[in-house]
């Protein structure tokens, strides 16, 4: 019995290790390339040796270079700021809407819910052109607002909050009403603190969206003051010349915040999804 379990664990480990090679080999290679002095990228790729994946003289000079000379820190700060404000607004606005859709019956509710559903099936990329025209008319093009506000319109976040709040018993709210609490107080003091898993899910979702967006920031802003992470990374590659050292080191530095966020929130993220009715 015991040796059977050991056998099962070992074979599972081997299967996982083999599968993970597919995911990790390109990453290891990129990290190795970023830790080499700037030079030819392909030099170490062919033929395949240990030197392909382990740099003989690892150095952090590429990373120092992008922060000290190329102002990559500014891009990180811009992306953090944009993500943070978008997250705050989205959590606030979407959770209120989710509360309304989960706990109230009102005229026009079905129409509103249909709008929410449609908008989360219409991804961002498909409306970039008319969105740019709109942002220009609102005179907020080339500002932080152009990067932030469109990201707040998030049907999926509303849907997640609605699902989550539906599971909260209405009796709690009725009791609070009898005690004289206002509706906003019920939302703010009772529902919002209960919905931490849903909030975490929305935070991860919105953060990933803003952190990884490239197409929209390219269209909506043009001053280097507003340059976000992905735009900064992409700027190292052009049709004429590509600085692999800069590209890879900025790609790695730029990927660290989401990875760190994931490591911290992994547990809550899974709990958040499962608490929102998307389960089996």
């Amino acid at each position: 019995m015991k040796s059977g379990r050991l056998w099962k664990t070992t074979s599972l480990f081997i299967v996982l290790a083999v599968v993970s090679l597919f995911f990790i080999v390109p990453l290891v290679w990129i990290v190795a390339s970023a830790l080499r002095p700037a030079g030819s990228l392909y030099q170490y790729a062919n033929p395949l040796t240990w030197g392909t994946f382990i740099p003989s003289k690892p150095t952090l000079e590429n990373f120092v270079h992008i922060f000290s000379k190329l102002n990559f820190g500014r891009a990180i700060a811009n992306s953090l700021f944009v993500s943070l404000v978008t997250i705050l607004l989205t959590v606030f606005v979407s959770s209120m809407a989710g509360f309304s859709l989960a706990k109230f019956n009102f005229r026009g509710k079905n129409l509103v819910f249909a709008i929410v559903l449609i908008t989360f099936m219409v991804p961002f990329e498909s409306i970039v052109i008319p969105l740019y025209i709109l942002v220009k008319q609102l005179k907020i093009d080339n500002t932080y607002w152009a990067l932030i506000l469109p990201g707040v319109a998030n049907g999926l976040a509303i849907f997640l909050f609605r699902q989550f709040f539906s599971e909260v018993p209405s009796e709690i709210m009725e009791a609070a009403r009898i005690d004289g609490a206002s509706w906003f107080r019920i939302y703010w003091r009772i529902l919002l603190p209960l919905s931490m898993p849903a909030i975490v899910t929305v935070i991860v979702m919105v953060f990933m969206f803003q952190w990884n967006s490239l197409f929209w920031p390219l269209v909506a802003t043009h001053s280097s003051r507003f340059e976000v992470v992905q735009v900064a990374i992409a700027s190292h590659r052009s049709t004429e010349s590509t600085s692999w050292a800069n590209l890879f080191s900025s790609a790695i530095a730029g990927s660290l915040p989401p990875v760190i966020l994931f490591l911290f929130l992994q547990k809550y993220f899974v709990r958040g999804i499962s608490g929102t009715g998307l389960k089996g």
Partner: protein, 288 residues
Amino acid sequence: MFRNGRVAWLFILPALAFLLLFKIWPIGVSFIESLTTTSFRGTKSFVGFENYSYLFRYDPVFWNSFWVTLLYSAIVNPLIVLSSLLMALLLNGSYFFTKFFRTVFFLPTAISYAVVAVIWSIVLDPYYGLANSFLTSFGLKPQPFFASPDQALWGLIMLNVWRSSGYWMMYFLAGLQNIPESLYEAAEIDGASTLQKTLKITLPLLTRTMSFVLVANTAFNFLSFAPVYIITKGGPMGSTNLLMYESYKSAFVNADMGRASAITSILLAIILVFSFFELKLTKANFEY
């Protein structure tokens, strides 16, 4: 359920304003734009559904993109659902190594599509790429990958599986956590094998998660843009010319906004139809 209509509207108004302004309005503008044409002098005129009928009747480039997009979706979506589901099943236990592998599988998700595209264009480089180094060191022939009309689309598919499997895996893991342990215990008493438990309990109870992942992933993949833009530019010979990229070219290279908007509208219609059928097809008929 409460019936205070005024309160309900107050709570929903901010979100609704955002949705109407930044989603519904642009969709509407895009649709109206698709009913116009712009002359050489830059004046716009209303032409009804002419852009659409031209696309469907006389535009072989559009038809090529249309079929390429359908083929791409028909392969990439089931593949991602399958791979993320398998990964979740393998990682559902609590061994000392599961957390490590979860993080490894999730890592590619933290990297933006633009960077992922750059990474894979180098890994699959026909002359110096890592993939061919592997192939030749195993005594196999080097492959052209993105330089070949037969392989380029598969390159994009692989890139997408690499990038997004870990993300959807999280949704399946969440779904798995919600299946009551008691069901498995009961099955074990009846002497069910692991395979039987997976087929008879796990998979049927995951249908709702599966339909969500399938729908969300389908909509997402229909709009694949960055990899095409960065790696293949739609080539070779139009073999990776996905509709989203064709629409982009129409708008920003050929300045033909009418055609570009018509393509986008068709794309949105396809997404809605696909989502509808996928929801019907995977409709969860289980309650527990």
